[in-house]
C-alpha cells in the first residue's frame, strides 16, 4: 500500500475525495485501497503500466466500472461531499462525463445530433435556438466548430479519427459536466491530432475538472497539474506533476518515469 508521505493533498478546492477505494472483477482486486483527493478545475493525470488499474480507477469515478460482469466497488468516493456510490449512477454520470480510448460517436446520428445526444437520448426537448447555441458552444469548446460548422448535418462517422474524438469531447461537454474523465483519449490518434487534444485539455480546465489516464509519460508532463502513479492496483504516489516528475518520493515512481517498466 502507498506510504502516506507519497500521497500529497492538492492545494485549493477539492472535487473528488476518494477514501480507501477497492474495485474488483470477481474475486480479483484491480484497485487496492486508493485514497486521494482530486483538485477542482485542474488536470490530473493517472499514469502507470498496463494493467495497473488506472482505467478501472477512473471508471469508478462515474460508476461505469460496475457494468462489467462480476464487478464490485468498496470504499467511498465523495463528489463535492456526497458519496457517489450512494447516488443513482445515472445522476452521477450526468455530472461526471467521459471520453474513451477509441472515438465512439453514435454512427446513426449527425454531428449536430451527436453533440446533443445527452439531451436527445434522455428525451429532453430543446428549443431550436437553444439547441443551436448548445451545439455551437460545445463544438467551440472542443475546438471543432470551425472544421464542421458547414457539415453539421453529416454523419459523425465521416470525420477523421481526431475530429471524432473532439466530437466525443463536445458531446460530453454539452451536458455541462463538472468533471471530464478521459481514458487514454489519444492512444488511437496520430501525433497531430494528439497535439490538438492536448492543447484542448489545457484549455478546458478553465471550466471543468479533468482526470486523464495516459500511459504516455510525456503527455502527462505536458498537460497535467497533478499526477498519480498506479502500480499493481495501488496508488503509489500522488502530487503536483512538477514535483512528482522531478523529485519522486517513491522508488517505483522514479523507475517508471525513467522508463524501466511500463
Amino acid at each position: 500500500m502507498g506510504n502516506k508521505e507519497t500521497i500529497v493533498d492538492p492545494r485549493g478546492p477539492i472535487i473528488f475525495d476518494i477514501r480507501n477505494l477497492w474495485a474488483y472483477y470477481g474475486e480479483k482486486p484491480a484497485v487496492k485501497g486508493v485514497t486521494c483527493k482530486i483538485p477542482e478545475k485542474r488536470v490530473t493525470a493517472i499514469m502507470g503500466p498496463s494493467g495497473c488499474g488506472k482505467t478501472t480507477f477512473i471508471r469508478c469515478l462515474n460508476r461505469l466500472h460496475e457494468l462489467s460482469p462480476g464487478a464490485r466497488v468498496e470504499g467511498e468516493i465523495f463528489l463535492r461531499g456526497k458519496n457517489i456510490l450512494e447516488i443513482d449512477p445515472v445522476v452521477v454520470r450526468r455530472r461526471v462525463g467521459m471520453v474513451f480510448q477509441k472515438p465512439n460517436p453514435f454512427p446513426t446520428m449527425t454531428i449536430y445530433d451527436n453533440v446533443l445526444a445527452g439531451y436527445k437520448l434522455l428525451g429532453i426537448r430543446l428549443r431550436r435556438e437553444e439547441a443551436d447555441r448548445l451545439v455551437e458552444e460545445a463544438l467551440r469548446k472542443a475546438a471543432l466548430w470551425d472544421e464542421v460548422k458547414d457539415s453539421l448535418h453529416k454523419r459523425g462517422t465521416y470525420l477523421s479519427g481526431g475530429q471524432q474524438q473532439r466530437l466525443c469531447i463536445a458531446r460530453a461537454l454539452a451536458v455541462k459536466p463538472e468533471v471530464l474523465l478521459m481514458d487514454e483519449p489519444t492512444s488511437a490518434l496520430d501525433p497531430k491530432s494528439t497535439a490538438k487534444i492536448e492543447e484542448l485539455v489545457v484549455e478546458l480546465k478553465k471550466t471543468v475538472t479533468i482526470v486523464i489516464v495516459t500511459h504516455n509519460i510525456a503527455q502527462a508532463g505536458r498537460v497535467s497539474d497533478y499526477a498519480a502513479f498506479f502500480y499493481l492496483g495501488e496508488l503509489v504516489e500522488f502530487g503536483p506533476t512538477s514535483q512528482l516528475f522531478t523529485v519522486p518520493r517513491d522508488k517505483r515512481t522514479e523507475e517508471f518515469l525513467k522508463g524501466k517498466f511500463g
Binding site: 461505469l64 460482469p69 474513451f100 477509441k102 453514435f106 445526444a117 445527452g118 436527445k120 437520448l121 434522455l122
Partner: protein
C-alpha cells in the same frame, strides 16, 4: 521434377472439382426457377391477379383472394412475432446472464427445429378448437411461431456485434440502459434486425403445412382475420393435385407469384445486408 508437376496437377484438379461442386447447389435452383417461370408466367393476366377462383372449366378464374390472404397472414404473423422477437433478442444480448438466458436461447433453437406441420397443430389447438372454426388469426399464430426464433436469434446476433463502446458512450451521458437499448442499440442495428425479419418473412410466406388446419383456405374474398382465409401455397397445393388442366396451369402461376414475392424479399434483405456491412466500417 516430376513430383512438382504431379503436385501442380493435383492442385489444379482440386480447384476444378471444388468449382464444379460449388456450382452444383445453384443448378437445381436455376432449374426450378426456369420451370416455374416457363410454366407460371403464361398464367399471369389481369384476371389471374384480381379474380376469385372459378370451378374447373369456367374461364377467368384467379387467385386474388389467395394473394390477399398471404399478405394478410404475413402481416398478422409479423405483428405478432416482430415485437416479441426483438424484445427477446434484446434480452438475450443485453440482459441474459446465467441459466435463464441459456434456457431461452435453447428454446428458440428448438422452436426453430419443430416441424412446421406441428406448429399448425399448435395453432389448431390454441385457437381453432376454442373458437370453433378456422381463421386467418390461427394461421398467423402458427406462422409467427416459425418467425419468432429467426428474429430472436438474428436480433441477438446483431446487437452482440455492436461494439461495447457504443453502450459506454450512451451510458456515460447518464442515459439508463433501457433507453440506451431503444435509442442507440436498436437504431444502430436496425438494418441487421430488419434483414432478420425479412428472412423470417420469406421463410413463412411459402409455408403450406402450418395453414392446413388453421387458415384452412377460402375460395371467397375475406378480409376478416377471424374467418378462414386462402393463401398462395394452399392454392398451389389444392390446384396442383387436381386433375384439371386449367387449375394446374393456375397452380404454376400461383407458384410463380409466390416465388417472385420470396425472391423480392430476399433481394431486399440482401441489399440491406450490404448496406449494413458498408456502415460497419
Amino acid at each position: 521434377m516430376r513430383s512438382i508437376l504431379w503436385r501442380k496437377f493435383k492442385d489444379r484438379s482440386a480447384l476444378v472439382v471444388i468449382t464444379v461442386l460449388a456450382f452444383l447447389p445453384a443448378l437445381p435452383l436455376f432449374h426450378i426457377l426456369y420451370g416455374i417461370f416457363r410454366l407460371g408466367l403464361p398464367a399471369f393476366s389481369w384476371n389471374f391477379f384480381t379474380h376469385l377462383p372459378t370451378p374447373p372449366g369456367e374461364p377467368d378464374g384467379g387467385v386474388g383472394n389467395a394473394i390477399v390472404g398471404t399478405l394478410m397472414l404475413s402481416m398478422l404473423a409479423s405483428v405478432l412475432a416482430i415485437p416479441v422477437g426483438i424484445l427477446s433478442g434484446v434480452y438475450l444480448s443485453e440482459y441474459a446472464r446465467g441459466r435463464f438466458g441459456e434456457v431461452v436461447r435453447v428454446a428458440a433453437d428448438v422452436l426453430q427445429g419443430v416441424p412446421s406441420i406441428v406448429l399448425g397443430i399448435v395453432g389448431y389447438l390454441w385457437l381453432v378448437r376454442p373458437m370453433g372454426h378456422f381463421s386467418a388469426l390461427s394461421g398467423a399464430v402458427a406462422l409467427s411461431l416459425m418467425m419468432l426464433p429467426v428474429i430472436v436469434r438474428s436480433t441477438e446476433e446483431i446487437l452482440r456485434m455492436l461494439p461495447y463502446t457504443l453502450r459506454e458512450a450512451s451510458l456515460s451521458l447518464g442515459v439508463n440502459y433501457w433507453r440506451t437499448v431503444i435509442k442507440v442499440l436498436i437504431p444502430t442495428g436496425l438494418v441487421g434486425i430488419t434483414t432478420g425479419i425479412l428472412v423470417a418473412l420469406s421463410r413463412i410466406m411459402g409455408e403450406t403445412a402450418p395453414l392446413l388446419f388453421t387458415a384452412f383456405g377460402n375460395p371467397f374474398w375475406n378480409f376478416n382475420p377471424l374467418q378462414p382465409v386462402d393463401a398462395l401455397p394452399l392454392t398451389v397445393f389444392k390446384y396442383a393435385i387436381s386433375p384439371y388442366q386449367d387449375w394446374i396451369r393456375q397452380a404454376w402461376g400461383a407458384s410463380a407469384v409466390l416465388t417472385l414475392m420470396v425472391l423480392g424479399l430476399n433481394l431486399i434483405s440482401r441489399i440491406l445486408a450490404r448496406r449494413l456491412s458498408g456502415d460497419g466500417k
